[in-house]
C-alpha cells in the first residue's frame, strides 16, 4: 500500500489541463505556412515524395502530405511547418494550404450535420477500423486515451462493437482485403453515424494511392464528416478535431 502511494506520488499530475491550448515540445511539423517568395516550383514539387505540392499558386495538400519536412528543408524561405496541430476539418478542400495564407484550418459550421451537435455533443462512442493502417495512427489513437491526453474526459471513447458506436474512425488506405469487413462494420453501426478519416493514408491513400492492392470505393459511397491529417495524426490533432466537430457551441 505504502509503495503504491509512493508510486502515485512520484508520477505527479500527468494530464494536460487544457488540450485546446497545449504546446507541443521541440520540433513539430504541423500546419505549414507558404511564403510568397519565388522559387523554382518544379524543383519544389519534385522534393515531395507523395506529390502533395502543386504549383501556381504553390499549395500543399495536407491530405496527401506525410509531414516528412523534405520541402521545408530544401526551401526554408518558402515553406515552414508551424507547431499548429489543429489541422482537422470537415471539408476536403480545407486541407489545401496555399501560398500567402496563414489562416487556421477549421471546421466549416455550415457543413456540420445538425444532429451531430445535439446527439454527440456530450458523448461520442467510436468504432475504429484499421484498413491497412501501419499501426502508427492506431498507436496515436490509443495514446489519445492515455493518462496525459485523456480523451475520455470529453465523453469520447472507442468501443468494441459497432452496435454500440456512433460512428467509425478509419485509418489506413483501405486495402482490398479490408473493403468488405469495413462495409460490414459500417452497416452494423446504427444511424445516424459519423465517418472520420485519420491519417494521410486514409484521407488520400498517401504513398499507397497507386497500389492495386487497395479498394477505396467505400469512400465514394458515403460522405466523410471529419478529416484528421497526419502521419500519424498527433493525439492533440485527433482530440481537437473531434471536439471541434461535436461541441455544441463554436
Amino acid at each position: 500500500m505504502y509503495n503504491n502511494l509512493k508510486i502515485l506520488y512520484h508520477q505527479g499530475k500527468q494530464f494536460i489541463p487544457d488540450v485546446t491550448t497545449a504546446k507541443v515540445p521541440g520540433i513539430f511539423r504541423g500546419r505549414p505556412v507558404i511564403s510568397l517568395v519565388k522559387v523554382d516550383e518544379s524543383r519544389l514539387q519534385a522534393t515531395c515524395p507523395t506529390h502533395a505540392i502543386s504549383a501556381n499558386p504553390v499549395s500543399i495538400d495536407l491530405g496527401k502530405c506525410t509531414f516528412c519536412g523534405e520541402c521545408a528543408m530544401a526551401f526554408p524561405d518558402k515553406i515552414q511547418f508551424t507547431t499548429d496541430y489543429k489541422i482537422s476539418t470537415n471539408e476536403r478542400e480545407g486541407l489545401i494550404v496555399k501560398e500567402g495564407d496563414d489562416q487556421p484550418i477549421a471546421i466549416n459550421p455550415e457543413k456540420v450535420r445538425k444532429e451531430i451537435h445535439s446527439l454527440f455533443g456530450r458523448s461520442l462512442k467510436l468504432r475504429q477500423v484499421s484498413a491497412g493502417g501501419d499501426n502508427s495512427c492506431e498507436w496515436e489513437l490509443n495514446a489519445a486515451n492515455n493518462v496525459q491526453f485523456d480523451m475520455g474526459r470529453f465523453g469520447i471513447e472507442f468501443v468494441a462493437s459497432p452496435r454500440h458506436a456512433d460512428g467509425i474512425v478509419i485509418t489506413g488506405p483501405i486495402t482490398e482485403n479490408m473493403a468488405e469487413p469495413l462495409q460490414i462494420c459500417y452497416d452494423a453501426t446504427p444511424d445516424p453515424k459519423l465517418i472520420v478519416l485519420v491519417g494521410t493514408d486514409a484521407i488520400s491513400g498517401g504513398l499507397f494511392s497507386g497500389s492495386p492492392a487497395l479498394n477505396r470505393s467505400f469512400l465514394d459511397r458515403y460522405p466523410v464528416d471529419l478529416y484528421i491529417p497526419g502521419n500519424p495524426a498527433h493525439p492533440l490533432t485527433v482530440i481537437n478535431g473531434l471536439l471541434d466537430l461535436t461541441r455544441r457551441s463554436f
Partner: protein, 500 residues
C-alpha cells in the same frame, strides 16, 4: 561450393550466387539448419527470371557471423518436395512462394495462402474463403475473432478450437493489411519515395525498417556510412526499443487488469516518444532515417537533453518494475502462461525478443553487427522459461540495457560529416544484397536485387513477425482462452509488417 558466404550488408553479383538443382538446393538448406541450432533461415523467396522462378535461400549463422546464400530455378507444373517436410521453419516461406507463383509441393504439411496478395497466382482463392483447420467433434467449440478486433489494433482473423475454456488449437489468418508494398518499392522511382515507403512498412518499427532500407540502399550504391550517421541510427533504434517495450509492459498490465501498472508504464512511454519529436519532429520517428543522410545530427545540447530524459525515466521505471515483480496476483497470471519451449522455438525458427525468451541467443546486434554495435559489444538478454513472464523480463531488462548503451554512446559524439548524397542515385548493376537489423521485435531482413541498369528488380521485406506468429499459435495451446490477450500482447506481433 553450392552456396555463397556473405556478411550483413555485403553486396554481391547475382551471378556469383551458385544455381544448383532443386534436390541439391533442398538438401543443402535443410541440412544447414538441422546441423546447428545456431542457424536459421532469414529469407527464402522467389522472383521471376524469364519463364522460370528463381528461388534464393539465405541461412544465417548466429555464431560465425556469416550468411549462406544459394539459389535454384523452378517452374510451375510438377510438384516439388518441400523443405517444410524436413524442417518446419521453412513452412511460411514455401507457402508464400506457392501463393505468389503457383509452385506446388507434394509433401508440404499446410499449403495455404499467406496474405492473399493482389498479384497472387490463383485469384480464385479469396480471403473470405480461408480453409481453417477444424475438428469434427460435438464436445469442442470454435471461437472466431476478427478481422476487426475489439481494441484499436490492426485486423487479422483468429480461429480457436476449444475444449471448454481450454485452447486446443489456434489458427491465425492474416493478409487484411496487404498494401502491395514490395511492388511499390519497384514502382516508385525516387529514392525519397522509397525511403518514405520504408517508414510506413510498420509504424511501430519506423526506425528498424527505415534503417534496414537505408542499409540495403547504401550497400547497393557501395556507400560507406559516416560515424555520425551510424551514431544517430543506433541511438534511435535503442530509443524505439525503450518506447515500445515500455508501452507493451503497460498493455500487459492492462490485460491482467492491473490499473496502476497500465497507467504508469503507459505514461512512461510518453517522455521517450516526445523526445523523438523534439529530435526529429515526429513521435514515431517518421522523416528521420534517410539513406546516406544524417538529417538530425546529435548535438551536445540534444545529448544532454536525452540524458536528462533518461535520468528522470529510469527511477520511475525501476520503481514500477519492482512493484510489478513483487505482486503475486500479477506473477500468477504471467508465470507458466503461454510457454514456447526451446525445442519449439528452434523448430519454427523464432527470432528476436521471442527467441531470447525461449533460451535462444539470437540477436542480430550480436550475431551480424552493424552501425555502432560492434563497439558496444552487445550481449543479448536471454531467458529460459519461454513464458509470458520471460517476455516481461526480457522487455524490462532490454530497456535497462538500451539505456546503458545510449549512455555509453553519448560519452563521445562524432563530428557531423558533409553529406555526399549524389553517390546514392546510381545503385550498382546486377547486384544482390541483404540487410539484417535487430528491431525491437527482432530480426528485420530487407533483400534487394538490381537489374542491368541498376533498377530494382525485386525487393523483399521480412518482418520478425513472419516467423513469430506461429510461436503465438503454439504458445496458447492448453492455456485458458482468457489468457489469450496476455499471450498475444507479450509478443505484440505486427500485422502490417507481415501482410506488406
Amino acid at each position: 561450393m553450392h552456396y555463397l558466404t556473405i556478411k550483413n550488408n555485403q553486396p554481391v553479383l547475382v551471378k556469383e550466387i551458385p544455381v544448383v538443382s532443386y534436390m541439391a538446393f533442398l538438401i543443402l538448406n535443410t541440412g544447414m539448419v538441422s546441423e546447428s541450432t545456431a542457424r536459421h533461415c532469414v529469407n527464402y523467396f522467389g522472383y521471376k527470371e524469364g519463364n522460370a522462378i528463381k528461388l534464393i535461400c539465405c541461412i544465417a549463422d548466429d555464431t560465425d557471423h556469416q550468411i549462406y546464400v544459394s539459389s535454384c530455378l523452378v517452374e510451375t507444373g510438377n510438384p516439388y518436395h518441400s523443405f517444410s517436410a524436413k524442417q518446419l521453419c521453412f513452412e511460411k516461406f514455401e507457402r508464400e512462394i506457392h501463393e505468389n507463383f503457383g509452385i506446388d509441393y507434394s509433401d508440404h504439411p499446410w499449403l495455404k495462402p499467406v496474405r492473399f496478395s493482389h498479384d497472387r497466382f490463383d485469384k480464385n482463392k479469396e480471403i473470405a474463403g480461408y480453409p481453417f483447420y477444424s475438428i469434427d467433434s460435438e464436445e469442442l467449440h470454435e471461437v472466431g475473432v476478427g478481422p476487426i478486433h475489439a481494441g484499436v489494433i490492426e485486423p487479422g482473423h483468429f480461429r480457436f478450437i476449444c475444449n471448454g475454456e481450454q485452447i486446443l488449437h489456434l489458427e491465425i489468418q492474416l493478409g487484411y493489411q496487404h498494401r502491395g508494398i514490395e511492388k511499390l518499392f519497384l514502382d516508385v522511382k525516387s529514392l525519397k519515395e522509397k525511403a518514405t515507403l520504408s517508414e510506413n512498412i510498420a509504424g511501430d518499427t519506423v526506425v528498424g525498417h527505415a534503417t534496414a532500407f537505408a542499409h540495403t540502399w547504401e550497400s547497393l550504391c557501395n556507400f560507406q556510412t559516416t560515424p555520425d550517421i551510424d551514431f544517430s541510427r543506433t541511438i534511435a533504434l535503442e530509443l524505439e526499443r525503450i518506447a515500445i517495450h515500455t508501452g507493451d509492459l503497460s498493455a500487459l498490465c492492462t490485460d491482467i487488469a492491473y490499473q496502476l501498472g497500465s497507467a504508469v508504464f503507459g505514461r512512461l512511454r510518453t517522455p521517450i516518444v516526445n523526445f523523438m519529436q523534439e529530435w526529429c519532429g515526429n513521435r514515431l520517428s517518421k522523416g528521420f532515417i534517410r539513406p546516406g543522410l544524417n538529417r538530425f545530427p546529435v548535438t551536445r545540447e540534444l545529448a544532454d537533453r536525452l540524458l536528462e530524459v533518461l535520468d528522470t525515466f529510469e527511477p520511475d521505471f525501476t520503481e514500477m518494475n519492482v512493484e510489478l515483480s513483487n505482486l503475486p496476483s500479477a506473477l500468477s497470471r504471467f508465470e507458466r502462461t503461454g510457454v514456447v519451449s526451446t525445442e519449439d522455438a528452434i523448430t519454427i525458427g523464432v527470432v528476436g525478443m521471442a527467441a531470447r525468451s525461449s533460451g535462444l541467443k539470437r540477436d542480430v546486434r550480436n550475431s551480424h553487427p552493424y552501425s555502432m554495435y560492434p563497439r558496444l559489444n552487445h550481449e543479448p538478454v536471454v531467458k529460459h522459461h519461454g513464458d509470458v513472464y520471460s517476455r516481461v523480463q526480457i522487455r524490462r531488462e532490454e530497456v535497462f540495457q538500451s539505456i546503458k548503451h545510449i549512455r555509453e554512446l553519448l560519452k563521445e559524439i562524432p563530428e557531423v560529416s558533409p553529406s555526399e548524397r549524389d553517390n546514392l542515385l546510381n545503385p550498382g548493376t546486377n547486384l544482390f544484397t541483404l540487410s539484417l537489423v535487430e528491431g525491437w521485435r527482432g530480426e528485420i531482413c530487407h533483400a534487394a536485387i538490381t537489374g542491368p541498369e541498376g533498377e530494382l528488380l525485386h525487393y523483399k521485406i521480412k518482418d520478425p513477425s513472419f516467423h513469430n506468429w506461429m510461436a503465438l499459435a503454439l504458445a496458447v495451446r492448453n492455456n485458458e482462452i482468457s489468457d489469450f490477450p496476455i499471450c498475444n500482447k507479450s509478443f505484440n506481433l505486427s500485422y502490417c509488417g507481415h501482410d506488406l
